[in-house]
Symmetry: C2
Subunit: 317 residues, 2 copies
């Protein structure tokens, strides 16, 4: 009999098919599991698959008294209370690096789209304004990327891939992360403040958590300056979204590109009404190959757990 | 008295200010010059500034009997009848390489935007569909760029900068151009057909002209396959636009990103209605630094001409 695995977050069937081939899935379709499955069924569940951003705290864990493994689909695990998991002897796994290239591609796409105003440009052509010679919203040329100072906040697998891509655009790259890496050819800054003072474009690639929540606030955005742009492919919690809205409205910065938001999938209407913003619905890791790689990590973590072994992709806490 | 220079194409005042500081500009505002200026004034004009794509043939030259220099703003000169100019002893100048980085940035932006479906993604968030959990147009994940075969058609200053950028996305790069360059680390193909057979994403960076008109036609697009994308930042004439529309509609290719069109600023409504297309209004070279560099080439060409010297940035014909 295959092992039972709870699908804890709302995941499309296309993403869980590979798990269904191997495990007996209990899928709550994104609703709270204890509202869908009876307590006796919950009591048998030893492992679950979750999107790392979905809240999973002590109370949730206590509804699953046999739980031994929380396996995150993707690199993030910010929704999981790691202390509560450790206290209950629950292993937490994720998919480190599996989607890094795909996410970095989206980061660079958003950087280019916000600096060159792609969404405004596309609309200007598409609605016939260009053909009718209506005043162009693109009349004022933006600065070139060449020579532009780009700051990368966080230098994990994704930050490295972002930096490698951005360097090809003849930019000057600096970074801030807890660790200084001697193998990297980029300028290191001792603090996020110092990085923001220096750079014009800020790329957020830091892991979400208590210490990075609202790290990018009104003061920090102001340091980027009126030609400044911020791109976030990490987690919405890293940016103070209300401060970003103000900065976009009052011209403290020139624009922003966001793949992640504070309360996904909800994005305030006032934010999406801003023309100097480009938004995508958390699609960073959404490529065929990234899904295959993330799914391989999930399967490897689950297989090891059910075999009584240590998870191969265990979160370091 | 400053030398008189005709502004032959429609160029915004912000782009001609630097010329006005040095020359006496006759600006027809984009209308045919001979309809704006009397014949005796036309007869005195010795030099003009034009956007390279604006048609400028023998008959136009004959209305300017003193014309000695045609100076293109930008790298292109496809609108200028070079044989007619040579026959009249008119020098033709342009701005080679001045906007190459800015144009290459837009090429990569369009490549990322078409492969990751940015415009559709932005709209899905912006119109509230994501928040309302409406079916996502992005459910089927696209292939990753990593390992993707990208073909560059044309390997001049812009093609080289495109290839250098695209290589950072962990792609495999091939190219076709009249010349094979031994200094380049990319795979060379003997023909555009062979390149298209090999690659999935085709980046058009070839100089426009009779030999490249409609080089990218229905047959060629089909070779890219159903995961294929085409990006054009060169000139609209290189693509058979009607064939591209069909290919986008019937799924022969997955998508396209266009900064240039056959009859700018006119783009057929049926083309802009396609969701698998991203469009920009010929903004490739539109950055502050690119304009400064292009203007420097224009001024240097005009100054040399009026000093009786050879143009420093003369078109090789």
């Amino acid at each position: 009999m295959p092992d039972k695995v709870l699908i804890y977050s709302r995941l499309p069937k296309s993403m869980t098919q590979r798990f269904a081939d191997r495990f007996d899935l209990l899928d709550s379709g994104g609703r709270p599991a204890h509202e869908v499955f009876p307590a006796e069924e919950m009591a048998q569940i030893r492992a679950l698959i979750t999107a790392g951003g979905t809240p999973l705290g002590a109370a949730d864990m206590d509804r699953l008294p046999s739980l031994g493994a929380i396996v995150c689909y993707g690199t993030g695990y910010d929704g999981v209370d790691l202390k509560a998991a450790a206290a209950r002897n629950i292993a937490v796994g994720h998919s480190p690096g599996a989607n890094a290239a795909a996410v970095a591609d989206v980061a660079v796409m958003l950087m280019l789209a916000t600096t060159r105003r792609l969404v405004v440009a596309d609309r200007y052509v598409r609605d016939g304004s260009w053909a009718e010679a209506k005043p162009s919203p693109l009349m004022k040329p933006p600065p070139s990327l060449g020579g532009c100072k780009v700051g990368v906040y966080g230098m994990g697998a994704i930050g490295r891939k972002i930096a490698a891509r951005v360097a090809a655009f003849e930019t000057d790259i600096g970074y801030f992360s807890r660790t200084r890496y001697d193998d990297l050819p980029y300028r290191y800054f001792q603090s996020l403040d110092a990085l923001a003072e220096w750079c014009t474009v800020l790329m957020i690639a830091v892991r979400a958590g208590a210490e990075t929540t609202h790290a990018v606030n009104a003061d920090l955005l102001k340091k980027l300056g009126p030609d400044g742009h911020v791109v976030n492919i990490s987690r919405g919690s890293v940016i103070d979204q209300a401060a970003l809205l103000s900065a976009l409205k009052d011209g403290s910065i020139a624009g922003a590109g966001l793949d992640v938001f504070e309360a996904e999938p909800h994005v305030p209407d006032e934010l999406t009404a801003q023309p100097n913003l480009v938004v995508t619905p958390h699609i960073g890791g959404n490529t065929r190959e990234a899904h295959v790689a993330m799914q391989a990590c999930v399967v490897a973590n689950l297989a090891a757990f059910f075999a009584g072994e240590k998870l191969p992709y265990q979160v370091k806490s």
